[in-house]
Amino acid sequence: MRTHADSLEDAAVRFDRVSLSYGPEADVLADVSLHLKAGSMTFLTGPSGAGKSSLLKLAYLALRPSAGRISLFGIDTGKLNRQTLARLRGRVGVVFQEFRLLEHLTAYENVALPLRVAGGKEKDYRDDVVELLRWVGLGDRLNARPETLSGGEKQRVAIARAVVVKPDLIIADEPTGNVDDEMGERLMRLFRELNKRLKTTVLIATHDLNIVRNTAKADMLRLADGMVVKTQLGPASAQAGAPAGSPAEPSPAAPAATAADETPV
């Protein structure tokens, strides 16, 4: 029989009745509960404005919930002091939708940032950083500053920065939104490899159904109307990614799912 403590321990991310509102306005997320098992790979989909980015921000501890409880790796994040919170954040690699690269640092320095923050010595991590940048196709742009990089290149730098510390949890917000299909697949392979080999828990918010379709053994969550439901690609979307949104899915790019495919998480 699984106890509550067991359940907490093997949950990399756990939301218990979490709500979020910005000021006095209506809740962006209302009473959301979810449970991402350690070592799992999960896609989060949903229409634009559904609160996917807000949910991710809560998960990577950039926001505090208005109500409810969030646990990472079994640790209740609501009761942590700032030092412990920093340690916990160090276990999470984040790919931000807007990249958030430091403009005065080179591509190499941006990728090395988490290692520098963790107190690593450059001679110990230099080769790894260079290798990772080569892997994402930026071996010749090590000393380029973000202002000289294209959107896709920035995104690859941001992804390399998120994975360079081999985090326990990777949270990515539209990580393939600015790269071509080939590079998108290459980056997804990186996430899949980390998930498979290092048992890294991966949570990816995306509108791109192809990357969902190409990833076996991944869970898919759909966020709409403040609710998170477990879902699968419906038959309509399986046809060349044609939009097949429900009335609650105004975005044509949103992944399609039928009501029959969905089960509350």
Partner: protein, 287 residues
């Protein structure tokens, strides 16, 4: 390859801040030098008159000779002699000019006495002995004057210390304000550092390092400017040539070097601590 500072330079804002801290360090260093100089001058003046006793006798040369005998007999007196008219005239030269005292101007009978080392407060005793000998005389052992000088220099020193404290407080307030402004301007970067696992102490360290360097550099420049100003004042005083006898004893000493050397250290330390306190207080309100 990771040589770039994580906290980017903000040239315009930092140049203005640097200028302000330089000005504050210059004023603080100069205040310190002035206070040190005032103490040194007071010390010189009081040392020169310590043990010196001047007696003015109302009477003729005979009364003056009798007064000398009375004073010689007092225990603790090392030396005594009556001033000649020429010696008295020399003392009045600063007021009357090189032409000296007109021959027909009557001068009081003056006696200069020196107490043995360590003997003080002989004035009342001498007055009593002279009075007992039937002589009308005024004794000045310069104690009152020395006390006045000491009081004046203590006040000047206190004023200088208050000035230094106010300047230091101003520098700390300016640094705190600048740190807060930088923190707000770099909020995104600070948030990113937090999200990559940086502790508050790591982020505060970036600001501490930046403002420590700014404080030390501004302190060095301010101290050098103060040294230049002190050298200029010395030059002007030297130009006064024979007329400097009323001016304080001015020179650059080891103590001045210490004051100037302390300025960058104090400025750097104050800047660093101000930045540290401000960052830690502000980070408490961030994610």
């Amino acid at each position: 390859m990771t040589g770039t500072p994580l906290l980017p330079r903000e040239d315009a804002r930092e140049a203005a801040l640097f200028f302000v801290v330089v000005a504050l360090c210059f004023l603080a260093s100069l205040s310190g030098l002035v206070a040190r100089s005032a103490y040194a001058a007071a010390s010189t003046w009081t040392n020169e008159v310590t043990g010196q006793i001047t007696v003015r006798v109302h009477g003729d040369d005979l009364d003056a000779r009798r007064a000398v005998e009375v004073i010689e007999a007092v225990d603790g007196i090392a030396e005594v002699h009556a001033l000649t008219r020429e010696e008295s005239s020399d003392l009045l030269k600063p007021w009357l000019g090189a032409s000296g005292v007109p021959d027909d101007l009557p001068l009081p009978q003056m006696i200069a006495a020196t107490a043995k080392p360590g003997v003080v407060q002989l004035g009342p005793q001498l007055e009593e002995k002279l009075k007992a000998a039937g002589l009308e005389a005024q004794v000045d052992d310069h104690v009152a004057w020395s006390s006045d000088v000491k009081r004046a220099t203590d006040s000047a020193g206190l004023a200088a210390l208050i000035a230094v404290a106010l300047l230091a407080a101003t520098a700390i307030a300016v640094i705190a304000f600048a740190t807060h402004a930088t923190l707000l301007a770099r909020r995104d970067m600070v948030e990113l550092l937090h999200l990559t696992g940086a502790k508050d102490s790591f982020i505060a360290g970036l600001f501490e390092q930046r403002f420590l360097m700014l404080g030390v550099q501004a302190g060095v420049v301010g101290a050098l400017l103060a040294l230049g100003a002190a050298a200029f004042i010395l030059f002007v005083v030297k130009q006064a040539d024979q007329r400097i006898w009323l001016l304080p004893q001015l020179s650059l000493s080891l103590a001045d070097g210490l004051i100037l050397g302390l300025a960058p250290l104090v400025a750097g330390l104050a800047a660093m601590l101000a930045a540290k306190a401000t960052v830690h207080r502000s980070l408490g309100d961030m994610i």
